[in-house]
Assembly symmetry: C2
Homo-oligomer: 244 residues x 2
């Protein structure tokens, strides 16, 4: 048995997240069924990130163990011909037998897209959060600056998260505006449950002048989820890349 | 009764084109039903372009006559709250009573998007033609140059077109590559049935070295549809703007 590493992209609109659920369609179920068709046996995948319902990916990574009957190069072609059009394997390679997509991830990059046009861009309706009220981007960037570094991000963890430590390092949090599109880029060593979306929701409240930028620091220090802003909609979030 | 001019965007994926059909869902049907809800009476719209099944629009224009009970500014807000999320009114204004969206159009701009990545971009699967074989862009641009100007474009008109004259002026046909995306931009005073898609299909054959660039001139001069290349898929085409 060989250990394969896959890089995949998906449009999360039609899926109840990555992780298998009994009564809802997930990316994992569709991917594992396709692998079963290909290998004629049940294969379990381990993802780098359990993206939530409606969240997208350009660079999700999974690993799985399978017999070495198909070369790494052939796997994307073979799987893409089985998979639905909203899931695409971009790359496959043979990894060392110890490689684990989740445990070995050094860092992850997420993007959060805001559609800042007066009316929503019809082609981004499933990929961006539409906000037409004026946003103070300087205030948002200032608010973001308090989050960079190693912190206890408990205040930005949604209930339902179950991790031992809520300390994470956010290497960078950039904010770029290009025409009517604003993209927040998060790079960190790990993300708590809905952390990127809770940070985005809070920064948007700063951008709308509902909160002072300095409040972001206080929220972080409070470690109290009730202090932070609303969770931003899932559709704007995309797992861009996993670094090993 | 006032004459209103609307600018609208739509994702054509779910529609059998713009124009009303008895047994298939069209943009016109959905738009007219929404107008009927708003005005409590049947209203017929006249479009600048009858986009085909699966073709998109960022700047389709229609006009319609309605009582002056809703201001131009309010119409997009009111209609967008009724319309499905894949049709969005971008702008509305009161036009002169003689204005006709189709007849008065001076020029139209269409874009055709090619996804040139090795694997298809999952987020563009409904908005671009995926081509992974190498394309010679210089050859395509040379082929395109023979089409610019006033010509009889009969060779690029699909059967089913029923116009008196097949002479049109193509003001420009640009080709731009940006990362893995190639966009062909057509600006002309009018387009025959499937003309932009037939030109795109022919230029792609030039790019694949299945035809010489100079053949494009011969096809044009032949006025024979059988000489031109295959029709490019509808999903890559988008009506960007109508100029008056």
């Amino acid at each position: 048995m060989l250990n394969y590493k896959l890089v995949l992209a998906y449009d999360g609109t039609a899926y109840h997240g990555f992780q298998f659920q009994k009564n809802a369609l997930t990316v994992q179920e569709v991917l594992e069924k396709s692998l079963e068709k290909l290998y004629r046996k049940k294969i379990k995948v381990e993802p780098a990130s359990r993206t939530d319902s409606g969240v997208h990916a350009r660079g999700q990574v999974v690993n799985f163990f399978a017999p070495g009957i198909i070369s790494g190069e052939q796997i994307p072609l073979a799987l893409n011909s089985i998979l639905p059009r909203d899931i695409i394997i971009m790359k496959a390679e043979i990894a060392s037998s110890e490689f684990n997509a989740r445990r070995d991830a050094r860092a992850k990059i997420y993007s959060y897209t805001i559609d800042y046009g007066f009316f929503p861009d019809v082609f981004r309706r499933n990929y961006a959060w539409h906000i037409y009220e004026p946003l103070d981007l300087d205030a948002m960037q200032l608010g973001a600056s308090f989050l960079i570094g190693k912190h206890d991000f408990k205040a930005f963890q949604a209930s339902g998260g179950s991790v031992e430590s809520t300390e994470r390092t956010l290497f960078s949090l950039g904010l770029e505006k290009n025409a009517d599109i604003i993209v927040l880029s998060f790079q960190g060593d790990g993300f708590l449950y809905k952390m990127a979306r809770n940070i985005t929701g809070t920064l948007v409240e700063v951008g709308l002048h509902k909160r002072e930028p300095q409040e972001v620091r206080k929220i972080l220090e409070s470690k109290d989820r009730r202090k932070a802003g609303k969770t931003a909609p899932a559709k704007g979030l995309c797992l861009e890349k996993v670094l090993y």
